[in-house]
């Protein structure tokens, strides 16, 4: 898709804003429906849309903005939640980049990035917060990541279909 620098900049900013709002919305309203802290990962939809529409660099911008500003707005920046989220986002971004390079299907990329997101969070908890007992919960989290990844993948696919019509 060809568009001017400014237009692209505006789109990436808007996508970041959507990701941040989804992140905050999810943590406040649908935070504890599932046990063990399993979450849908609504903001991951935006990361998927961005990497397909705008490429790797802008996806990284959106993801990093979402962690920094999302936690800043919730007053949790540089607290434990922030570092855990950062660990998750770094690994899930890697998964997205590799999946995109291998030309895998969108839902598969979504599932893998969702699994890697949980795995990154677990790694941070085990190594930086020294809670080895997290290994016992890890299989539940990673199994929960599969349906959540499928859900976000389907939503992202639908969102991209609608976006391709409009833009």
């Amino acid at each position: 898709m060809r568009m001017s620098e400014t237009k692209k900049f505006v789109y990436v900013t808007m996508l970041s804003a959507i990701a941040i709002s989804l992140n905050i919305f999810e943590s406040i309203f649908i935070g504890n429906i599932f046990p063990f802290g399993i979450r849908i990962g609504l903001a991951n939809i935006i990361a998927l849309v961005t990497i397909v529409k705008f490429g790797v660099k802008d996806m990284l911008v959106v993801n990093i903005m979402r962690v920094f500003i999302g936690n800043l707005l919730r007053g949790l920046i540089f607290g434990s939640t922030f570092w855990i989220a950062l660990g998750g986002v770094i690994l899930s971004s890697f998964a997205l980049i590799i999946g995109q390079k291998l030309k895998a299907s969108l839902i598969f990329i979504s599932v893998i990035s969702s699994i890697m997101h949980s795995f990154g969070q677990v790694l941070v908890v085990i190594f930086f917060y020294k809670q080895p007992g997290m290994i016992a919960i890890m299989p539940y989290l990673l199994l929960g990541a599969i349906p959540m990844g499928i859900v976000t993948g389907i939503v992202a696919k639908e969102a991209l279909r609608l976006m391709n019509k409009k833009i």
């Binding site: 943590s27 935070g31 504890n32 046990p35 063990f36 802290g37 919730r74 949790l76 607290g79 434990s80 939640t81 855990i84 895998a104 299907s105 839902i107 598969f108 599932v111 699994i115 908890v125 917060y129 020294k130 809670q131 007992g133 997290m134 290994i135 016992a136 919960i137 890890m138 299989p139 539940y140 990673l142 199994l143 599969i146």
Partner: protein, 113 residues
């Protein structure tokens, strides 16, 4: 989704189920009469899950309470931003699940031998 991708995800799910199974069989060898609360790698509280009682203690973030009833325990009235520890709900010796609260740096589990 392609067939190969479904296979990869299924293999991954099977590995996770195996991990759960291995962990269960390992936890059968645990000392089932003592549950310990670890804060910052130090045991701050030990309790017997068969005695019904409410225990109070303070973590790094704030106050927490553990309710013990009928051989099961759960976290209640905790001060933390996400409330993940209380969303885990009732935990017993057999379900062998540790309860972890990261903001409080607290870890509640059956005592390893």
């Amino acid at each position: 989704m392609k067939k190969k991708e479904i296979v990869i995800i299924s293999i991954f799910a099977v590995i996770m189920f195996m991990m759960l199974f291995i962990y269960r069989s390992y936890s059968n060898n645990l000392n089932k009469d003592i549950v310990q609360v670890v804060h910052n790698e130090k045991v701050i509280l030990e309790f017997d899950p068969n005695i019904d009682k409410i225990y109070e203690f303070t973590g790094s973030y704030g106050h927490m309470e553990i309710e013990v009833k009928d051989g099961m325990w759960r976290v209640i009235n905790e001060d933390c931003p996400n409330h993940i520890c209380s969303s885990v709900g009732w935990v017993s010796v057999d379900s062998y699940l540790p309860i972890i609260c990261i903001p409080n740096e607290v870890y509640i589990s059956v005592k390893p031998q």
